[in-house]
């Protein structure tokens, strides 16, 4: 499939297309109704409290934002590193990244205590805050993606494709660094305050984004009668396997470093000793089903060339990614702040005890709303623009 000969086509806007959009719009409306209820009542109806201040909405939001950055992998490999195989998929890569990012940002905004003050967030900046920088990085990435897509769509600008791709690559690396730094910069929390958060989030983005891309590509292909070639799918799978392994490596480095320092032993026991909920989620969800099982599916001789196994593996990577976010975000808050190292603390404000957190339906609604909004962007984009190549099959060997 040479890039010059690739022909793109919109999805046929048949009944199933509009049906899918209607379902997603319905999910969004239900979520927005939940949001209105939440804003009317206040956050006390959620599981979040003064101990665990960020909950399920943030798990979904950060996952989507990180995955958005990683969804651009294919674009980067195609446009920056010149891999011809991926070039026909660069448009989908850009569109998916934009959709995931918009979905994640929507959740963050809808969860604010004062979402009506979005204009304040856009007009008052404290440039020492990584949060403030991230507002620019997130909205900026949308602009960079728009520029990249424009270049892809305009043959006259084809010579700028690599430059736009490099800009997008650098931007998303900085963005994911900034997202990891939200946690890395928290000096007082036992589970955070670690420079490795930045590169960990970058490699997580590669993994989650590639997994989401694979499933969306397959779904879009199946929904539009295009058959995705084995070679392309398994090439993406091999890439994903490397990223999953790399995430495991960074997680290992993080915990090994913490285990070396006695001051972190309490937190490490909390995550690793298989007693707390977070520890079970870590071992069973993140490491087991989210990493080792996919790796086995991707590499085992009997399953490595099985399409179903590949898709199941990608789905498990996404599930494991959400669980990893849960362990990082919620687990990091549930573990008590240490005000007096070596002492036992107690108070009416839950000092010295593991904070409780029971997610509420309202929080899941916000999370699902973000996913639905992101998918609406993707589905609408696929219907309106020539994003998908007409032919996704493997190239025929030259005769």
């Amino acid at each position: 499939m040479s890039i010059a000969s690739v022909r793109y086509a919109t999805l046929d806007a048949g009944r199933s297309y509009w049906g899918l959009l209607a379902v997603l719009a319905g999910m969004t409306l239900v979520g927005l109704a939940g949001f209105l209820h939440l804003e009317h009542e206040g956050h006390w109806i959620t599981g979040m409290n003064n101990q665990v201040v960020w909950g399920i909405p943030h798990v979904f939001a950060v996952f989507l934002i990180v995955a958005a950055s990683g969804a651009l992998n294919v674009a980067s490999i195609a446009s920056v590193f010149g891999q011809v195989t991926y070039k026909p998929l660069a448009r989908l890569s850009g569109l998916l990244a934009a959709g995931l990012l918009i979905g994640g940002l929507a959740i963050l905004v809808l969860d604010l205590g004062r979402p009506d003050r979005l204009i304040v967030a856009m007009t008052y900046y404290n440039f020492k805050s990584i949060f403030a920088w991230n507002i620019f990085l997130y909205t900026g990435l949308l602009a960079v993606i728009a520029l990249y897509m424009f270049v892809l769509f305009q043959p006259a600008f084809a010579r700028w494709t690599r430059a736009a791709g490099i800009l997008a690559l650098l931007w998303r690396l900085v963005l994911t660094t900034g997202t990891g730094a939200i946690f890395g910069f928290l000096v007082a929390r036992q589970g955070y305050d670690a420079a490795i958060m930045a590169p960990l989030f970058i490699i997580m983005s590669f993994s989650f984004g590639t997994a989401v891309f694979m499933l969306v590509l397959t779904a879009a292909g199946r929904g539009s009668g295009r058959v995705l070639g084995d070679a392309l799918l398994f090439r993406l799978k091999n890439l994903l396997a490397i990223f999953v392994s790399a995430v495991l490596y960074f997680v290992l480095a993080y915990h090994i470093t913490n285990l070396y320092a006695t001051e972190h032993h309490g937190y490490e026991a909390f995550i690793l000793n298989f007693e707390s909920l977070y520890s079970k989620l870590f071992w069973i969800g993140q490491v087991g089903f989210g990493s080792l099982v996919p790796l086995a599916l991707f590499y085992a001789p009997r399953t490595r060339t099985c399409r179903i196994s590949t898709h199941v593996g990608a789905g498990l990577v996404i599930l494991g990614g959400l669980i990893q976010m849960y362990v990082i975000i919620i687990g990091g808050q549930a573990y008590p702040l240490v005000l007096f190292p070596g002492m036992e603390e107690s108070s009416s404000f839950y000092d010295g005890v593991i904070a409780s957190y029971v997610p509420s339906i309202w929080e899941f609604l916000l999370g699902f709303t973000g996913v639905a909004i992101g998918l609406i962007v993707v589905v609408a984009g696929l219907g309106a623009l020539g994003i998908l190549p007409e032919d996704l099959s493997d190239p025929k060997p030259a005769s």
Partner: protein
Amino acid sequence: MSLDLTRREFLQGAGAAGALTLAPGVFLYAKDPEVPVTDAVRWGLLVDTRLCQEDCDACVEACNEEHNLEDLGRPETDAQWIRKLTVRDPLGGRTISLPMMCQHCENPPCVDVCPTGASFRRIDGIVLVDKHTCIGCRYCMMACPYKARSFIHENLTEQLPHAPRGKGCVESCTMCVHKVDAGENTTACAEACHKDGHQAILFGDLNDPDSEISKRIREFGATQIRADLGLNTGVRYQNL
């Protein structure tokens, strides 16, 4: 001078005039609102844990009353600006009790992370939240090493003019800034502790070498909680 002066106007007038003598040796200084806050002072609190009684929460009650912090029966989401903390040394079992609140850091992590600048530190050392620009993101609560901040999880009624609060914003100890600016030279917690006869909490100007708080720190020393973080807290503790 008109007879229907408000208390604030009266205090302002007195402040402009210099000082109002309430009783021999007791002066009331009122800050003229036209005069900016100055870094010539740094307000702070000194807590002597030996004088703090474990079964006493007069400071907490006074703070709740001063700022109308209600007990809504939901301890996980109810706001607490000050709490009594019990600290036990597992080696030997020595137990101390102390009030924990915003430590009014010189380098506050909450101010560093706030995206809109709503978390800010006045140059007289008091760390506050601008309720007009707080968007309720709660990043400051993630960053505070002292768990000093509360998010308002519900609608509030019957708020007090000097302590505006609202659903969806974050708040914490203001070091009774309304009292400080009115020249009362104390906080509700320090006042209550004094009234109860414990005198464990002392308010004063850390920059004034002649202030009682400075003298006591100079004489007996004082400790910062999580001093390793280098935040230079405005609340210091003795006999930890």
